[in-house]
């Protein structure tokens, strides 16, 4: 964003400040009003450093404004009569100090709690100032201030005070401009966009927020001190909480996305007040309405409105964005300079020793030993719920381990927060793209590289002066193949481009150990090739640990593989060893054990009837990620159909598409003769589709009886089977005993039964089951299996399950999904009996 010379915001501001008194006189306003406008411009700029640039909503700025005014006034009245400059400096410093204290406390919380804390502080300070009348004069205020001269200029007249104030305001604006364009200022933008990712780039985010808070308080305080001298009077009104709200309103109405937005808002506010109050006492009413209007229709404020009006005159940005969406990045051959040349670390570079992590009762990772050698490409695979991502999260510092140790080149890593872990040269990418959406591609990467630079806290010099950072960023852009689109905003990149950038952000930290979480997820074949090649090249210079579900590729590119299941390591070794290891086959392909109890029920199954559900060629997206490609399947009355496939294949997404929770972008879904694709989930449920989601999702705060009652409320259709409570208890006798217990106290098996029973309540014509056996002990699985088996005669069932033995024993027919496409369709019996066939269809 490089505005032409003439449109440079500071010049615009200077020009406006110069002519303001003339303009005011022309519309019949006083010079005092002009001064107030100038002061409010400053207050707006200071406030916006927090709101627009860092993303923090503070209700506490009335305290900084008013207390700075009081500090200045009290200093002049009691100690330095006749001085103007020193009291102003004192007021500003006081506000900055107060900002550090309040900021330190309030920033311990985030989001709404942070805002409420600032509100509480502001209210507390106001009530103290209001009541401590002996010191502050309360409502009546303090008199006795004088205003002889400032900066050598006599300022008793309003006009001369205006020009001195305007000069001070301009200098402060210039300083704030420098801050916003400094390395520190750029980090504030990153924090606003994605605070968590900023931490994972290595920035100590709290420190940055505190600095921004203190600066903002100082600017507001400067405005307050000037205001005290404008009115030559201070009273408790200056500290009133409502004023905080007015500052917020001004900034939003003006437009918090632009440097000059809040000053414009401040001017607008004052003029609005002055002009309208001549006609009506209710000007605040109209301003409030206006404010609400902006929130609803144009949250980017007046500047946003202006931008849209002038929009057709500015084409350039759109073209760059469109191009970015079409370009497929071609990663370069040469790994950038700054990755090369590090000495090889012998032995284990990263070591996990008996690492464990629990969440409440659930053990996600249990005593995992993992060793990663330098210059190796090590893959971590395993079925759903194996604990791979949790392990990554523990290693990268998102949570501390509950047991065990983490060592990087011999140094302890466990317990360090993410920013410190990155400082030890361990970086990670995320499974779901986690970028800074409003910034350009170049800026995303540059921020990653800047995080290592000694001048990353610099708030004065322009960020463009960090030449080394710029060069390294260029090299990284070239390496990733993103040349030509580095100026485009991230949101306009294609999905493949975004995934590449995601990887690039992790690289920017110049890691010695790189953790990649499903780098190939959702990508087309050609893109997978490219990223695989890139990762292989990287592993020649650093240690790389990859979690991936694309097992074919993993076996092709990895040096070493660790297989996890249910939180533990199953096998760890070279590719050849793992590929044919019987235990690994068991984990992925099942034991081939006979499910004896199923046979009796199977024999009496009458065979399939008419099609109940028909899915035709659906494509489903999560944001930009293309999850399902032209998926078609059919479910007929009287049958159980299984959806098989590895993790990330799209099985759950298919169920969600049918249920309306992830509506398809293309294709048709027909149920009982009706087209339900894209309808809201409540409508689909009412047609008689019952959904038992992964993880059961009972309402933990409700009892079992209440959970069941909830689903009876709506499904009262005439077709389909009506499930009365008695019938449900017959199927699941255990539930009757637990009716009055809160759902969160139930065991896993009991919860699963209740979840299925809940789906049955009311009228049911189709049952969707997503991983019903997940996390259950074998005996409990048997009970659930028997129940589902009995249900097959009552209602058609579509089941997603990764335990192949169980699902192949239940299902009549199966579909296999791989990377979002159906790759196999047929009866379940052959797959059940023939393990070799299973391996062909489902393994590598």
């Amino acid at each position: 964003m490089s505005p032409s010379r003439l449109r440079h915001p500071l010049l615009v501001l200077a020009g406006a400040l110069l002519v303001l008194p003339l303009a005011m006189r022309a519309i019949g306003m006083t010079d005092g009003v002009a001064t107030e406008i100038a002061i409010f411009c400053l207050v707006g700029l200071g406030f916006n450093l927090l709101l627009g640039y860092t993303g923090l909503v503070s209700f506490g700025h009335s305290a900084f404004f008013g207390l700075a005014a009081y500090a200045a006034a009290l200093l002049q009245i009691h100690r330095l009569p006749g001085h103007v400059l020193l009291p102003i400096v004192f007021g500003t410093a006081f506000a900055a100090g107060l900002g550090l204290v309040i900021g330190f406390l309030a920033l311990r919380r985030r989001g709404v709690y942070f805002s409420l804390l600032t509100l509480a502080f502001a209210a507390m300070i106001f009530s103290i100032v209001f009541r401590w009348t002996s010191f502050t004069g309360g409502e009546n205020g303090l008199r006795g201030m004088t205003r002889p001269s400032l900066l050598g200029v006599p300022v008793e007249s309003q006009l001369s005070f205006y020009y001195v104030t305007a000069a001070v305001v301009f200098l402060a604006a210039w300083a704030l401009w420098r801050v916003v364009h400094s390395p520190l200022g750029r980090v504030l933008l990153a924090i606003r966009d994605n605070e968590r990712r900023a931490r994972f780039l290595g920035y100590p985010v709290q420190r940055y927020k505190l600095i921004a808070f203190a600066l903002s308080a100082a600017a507001t305080g400067l405005g307050g001190s000037l205001f005290a001298f404008l009115k030559v009077f201070v009273s408790a009104d200056l500290v009133h909480v409502a004023f905080s709200g007015e500052i917020l309103a001004m900034s939003i109405v003006g437009g918090m996305g632009h440097f000059l937005g809040p000053p414009l808002g401040g001017a607008f506010f004052i003029l609005f007040r002055e002009i309208l109050s001549e006609y009506t006492a209710a000007w605040q009413f109209w301003f409030g309405l206006l404010f609400m209007g902006f929130i609803l229709f144009s949250p980017s404020g007046l500047i946003g409105v202006g931008g849209r009006l002038l929009g057709p005159l500015r084409r350039g940005g759109e073209e760059a964005a469109a191009m970015a969406a079409r370009v497929t990045p071609e990663p370069g051959q040469e790994v950038p300079e700054f990755f090369r040349g590090a000495p090889v670390v012998p032995g284990a570079l990263l070591e996990c020793r008996r690492v464990s992590k629990r969440f409440g009762d659930f053990t996600a990772v249990a005593e995992v030993d993992l060793t990663l050698a330098d210059r190796r490409l090590h893959a971590l695979i395993g079925p759903n719920g194996a604990g791979k991502t949790t392990l990554f999260n523990v290693i990268s510092g998102m949570y501390p381990p509950d047991g065990g140790q983490l060592l990087l080149a011999g140094r302890r890593l466990d317990g360090l927060p993410p920013e410190r872990v990155v400082g030890q040269a361990l970086a990670r990418s995320f499974q779901i793209t986690n970028l800074f959406p409003s910034l350009t591609v170049f800026e995303n990467l540059r921020l990653g590289i800047q995080a290592r630079h000694p001048r990353r806290f610099d708030l004065w010099r322009p960020f463009t002066s960090l030449a080394a950072v710029h060069e390294e960023t260029q090299a990284l852009v070239r390496f990733l193949g993103l040349e030509g689109v580095e100026g485009a905003p991230v949101a306009s990149l294609s999905y493949g481009g975004q995934r590449l950038l995601e990887l690039g952000l992790a690289l920017a930290a110049r890691p010695r150990v790189l953790l990649l979480d499903e780098p190939l997820a959702g990508l087309a074949a050609a893109e997978r090739e490219r990223i695989t090649a890139l990762v292989r090249r990287l592993s020649e210079h650093m240690a790389v640990l990859v979690v991936e579900h694309d097992i074919d590729r993993v076996f092709a590119f990895a040096d070493r593989i660790t297989v996890m299941n249910e939180g533990r390591v199953v096998v760890d070794g070279p590719v050849a060893e793992v590929r044919d290891h019987p235990k690994v086959h068991e984990v992925y392909l099942g034991h081939g054990r006979d499910i004896l109890f199923a046979d009796a029920a199977r024999a009496s199954s009458a065979g399939a009837g008419a099609a109940v559900l028909r899915v035709s060629g659906i494509d489903t997206f999560y944001g930009k990620s293309h999850i399902l490609h032209e998926v078609s399947l059919e479910l007929r009355a009287g049958e159980v159909v299984g959806l098989l496939g590895r993790n990330g294949a799209g099985k759950s997404s298919t169920l969600k598409s049918v249920m309306g929770l992830a509506p398809p972008a293309r294709g048709r879904i027909e149920f009982a003769g009706r087209d339900i694709g894209g309808r809201p989930p409540e409508e689909i449920a009412r047609l008689g589709i019952g959904f038992v989601p992964q993880g059961r999702r009972l309402f933990p705060n409700l009892t079992v009886a209440e959970n069941l009652e909830l689903s009876r409320l709506r499904r009262r259709g005439s077709d389909g089977v009506r499930w009365e409570p008695e019938r449900i208890f017959e199927f699941f006798p255990r539930i009757r005993e637990r009716l009055a217990s809160r759902a969160e106290t139930l065991s896993g098996g009991e919860q699963q039964m209740v979840a299925i029973a809940r789906a049955l309540s009311g009228t049911l014509r189709l049952l969707l089951l997503d991983e019903p056996f997940e996390g259950l002990a074998p005996a409990v699985s048997e009970a659930i299996f028997v129940s589902i088996d009995r249900l097959r005669r009552e209602v058609p069932i579509l089941i997603v399950e990764h335990d192949l033995d169980l699902v192949l024993a239940l299902a009549d027919r199966v579909y296999v999904l791989d990377r979002g496409r159906i790759t196999h369709e047929g009866p379940a019996a052959p797959l059940r009996a023939d393990r070799e066939l299973r391996r062909q269809v489902l393994w590598v």
Partner: protein
């Protein structure tokens, strides 16, 4: 200081706390289900008092007590459906800012319609006088406030725990998507809860009118008290808000006795303490979307 004076002030604090509870309960409901930080809650409280003033001139106090909260709820329905609904899917900050603008406009509109000075609102005839309980003297009106508040709180509890509407609300605070997957549309429920929440605020306003007067700034003054209570009691907890409301009333009653200037400030200090040490309050639950 004789003990019974202290006890009397505590008891008085409890009585005053009771209508705070009604107010805070409404705020908490809107918080928990709608996910909206309703900064305009005080405005609805004030509106309740003003509407009551109008109604009681024609239909007496009891008419006002019945009709004014309904009027406020009706206005709440309109605002929710026209405006708030668009903001649910956005950043919770935007809804917060919207309600803030609403509060601003609402306070001013009260000034416009009814003037900037307060309106006289006496205690209704039927409820004047004192009741003697042993050594303690209580104003009849305050006891009536306690009674009405108790009924309102009980009514809410029954609604939330014994009706299917309440069932949907309680489920919706934890997993709105799953509620929809069970065939229940949430938007009418959200509208109803918002209307109920602001209706409770209006009711609190009616009850407070004879005690604290009716003037345009009454909304902003009580708003921070309401937030203090909800924060201390904890988001999502019914009884937490009740206890916290009574606690705040008692604390206020005592500080007014011992050191009046610190009465308000002590409340805000308490809020800061709770937010810093235990943001989910006494009995609340974790709401990640607010952090």
């Amino acid at each position: 200081m004789p003990l019974f004076v202290i006890l009397e002030h505590m008891a008085n604090g409890l009585l005053v706390g009771s209508y705070y509870v009604v107010l805070a309960l409404g705020l908490s409901l809107i918080f928990s289900l709608g996910g909206v930080v309703n900064l305009a809650h005080g405005a609805f409280y004030a509106l309740g008092a003003y509407l009551a003033w109008e109604v009681q001139r024609r239909l007496g106090f009891f008419g006002a007590l019945a009709l004014s909260p309904l009027g406020v709820a009706a206005i709440g329905v309109v605002i929710e459906r026209l405006c708030l609904r668009r903001l649910y899917r956005e950043d919770p900050g935007l809804a917060l800012l919207f309600t803030f603008g609403l509060a601003m406009a609402a306070e001013q509109s009260l000034r416009l319609v009814w003037g900037a000075t307060g309106l006289p609102f006496g205690i209704p005839e039927a409820l004047r006088g004192q009741i003697f309980l042993g050594d303690f003297i209580y104003s009849r009106y305050r006891l009536a406030v306690l009674a009405v508040s108790a009924v309102a709180v009980l009514g809410c509890w029954l609604l939330l725990n014994k009706t299917s509407f309440g069932l949907v609300v309680r489920a919706g605070t934890r997993d709105p998507e799953m509620v929809r997957a069970l065939g229940i549309a949430l938007s009418p429920v959200l509208t109803a809860i918002f209307a109920l929440g602001v209706g409770l605020a209006g009711l609190a306003g009616v009850m407070s009118a004879p005690l604290a007067g009716v003037q345009p700034a009454m909304g902003t003054e009580i708003l921070t008290a309401a937030f203090v209570i909800v924060v201390i009691g904890g988001l999502g907890s019914f009884w937490g808000v009740v206890y916290a409301g009574l606690l705040v009333g008692v604390v206020r009653g005592l500080t007014v006795l011992f050191y009046p200037p610190a009465a308000e400030a002590s409340m805000y200090a308490l809020m800061v303490l709770v937010l810093l040490v235990r943001p989910r309050g006494l009995m609340g639950e974790r709401f990640e979307r607010f952090e």
